[in-house]
Symmetry: C2
Subunit: 199 residues, 2 copies
């Protein structure tokens, strides 16, 4: 299909597609003349991916670039893979010093993690920001949230085991990490309404 | 304290504080001369709130305005309150038609919710976007995520019961909805690392 048809299929304007091409986020089509190229289903999938990352996951162009690089040249181990996936959505407050509360939380839960990793810092920063803004958040509530987050992470890892082959596993980890945050946020809101009506 | 001291205390530049004042997000200080005003601890708390909303929760100025309005003039019922809190972070994909899958999911879980509410639409849109981008997400995994989201929502509602009075409950619902998404995202990443190392 031509670029105008790709735009129609994906509901993304031609000028945005040209921007993705210039940035190397969308692979070039097969040239059929000096000014025309032909695109296929791989391009449709890639555009859907870029749109989902930018519109729904709030990942910027740099994040999208990391996802595309990981898909095109998959890292060798599951740990590296998870690292790439986690760096896709940059951690907010990633330069905060990890608090004693967060260290104890993780130790009490029996979790083995990089003690000063960016998400440990982000957890410290976001909990601190919520409390500084006036939210009354007791430690035991944080523990309860952590238990629920662990259930989410178990499903996240199960998803990679659903994958048919290594390439699909890469896709699942990278996409699942970046694209399921908005799904989980929506599920939380719908569940809040349900629980609120029950009580 | 003077505005320069408020800036120092909160680590927010004076020009940003002046912007918040102009937009009515920060209440005026007590004028001590034609060009000077005095600020107090309420102002410190408000600036922390605005910073948390904008920096950590990714809520824009309109969202911050809704939070401030709800804190200053609290809605009467818990259902209205939850509505305000949920509108603070705008639903992505809020104009999508709710899919049969999402309707069945909610029915199977026994949740009573507004069938065409913005978060039901957002759930449809974000699940659709993740799949269109190439994520293999089986329905049974969505059910598992929904169970975990319900655990989160139970803690969310417990938080409002920890609140000392009605004003604190308002603060908790509004702030908890907007400010805990980034905490939950960070917890998910840390838990992923822990589960990945265990397996």
């Amino acid at each position: 299909m031509r670029i105008s048809q790709l735009a129609e299929r994906t509901d993304v304007p031609v000028h945005t597609l040209k921007y993705y091409l210039r940035e190397g986020l969308l692979m070039p089509g097969v040239a059929t003349s000096r000014t025309r190229a032909e695109y296929d289903e791989d391009h449709v999938r890639r555009v859907h991916l870029l749109r989902a990352l930018v519109e729904h996951a709030g990942v910027g162009i740099d994040g999208a670039r990391r996802v595309v690089a990981a898909l095109e040249d998959p890292p060798g181990t599951r740990a590296e893979l998870l690292g790439v996936a986690q760096r896709t959505v940059p951690a907010t407050g990633g330069d905060a010093e990890v608090s004693d509360e967060v260290r104890e939380l993780v130790a009490d839960l029996g979790w083995t993690v990089e003690p000063d990793g960016p998400w440990m810092r982000s957890l410290t920063a976001t909990v601190g920001a919520a409390r500084a803004a006036g939210l009354h958040l007791e430690h035991r509530r944080l523990v309860e949230y952590a238990h629920a987050a662990r259930d989410v992470a178990e499903v996240d890892l199960d998803l990679t085991e659903d994958a048919e082959d290594a390439a699909a596993a890469v896709r699942t980890v990278v996409l699942g990490t970046a694209l399921l945050d908005p799904v989980l946020i929506a599920l939380r809101r719908v569940a809040q309404e349900a629980v609120s009506r029950e009580r």
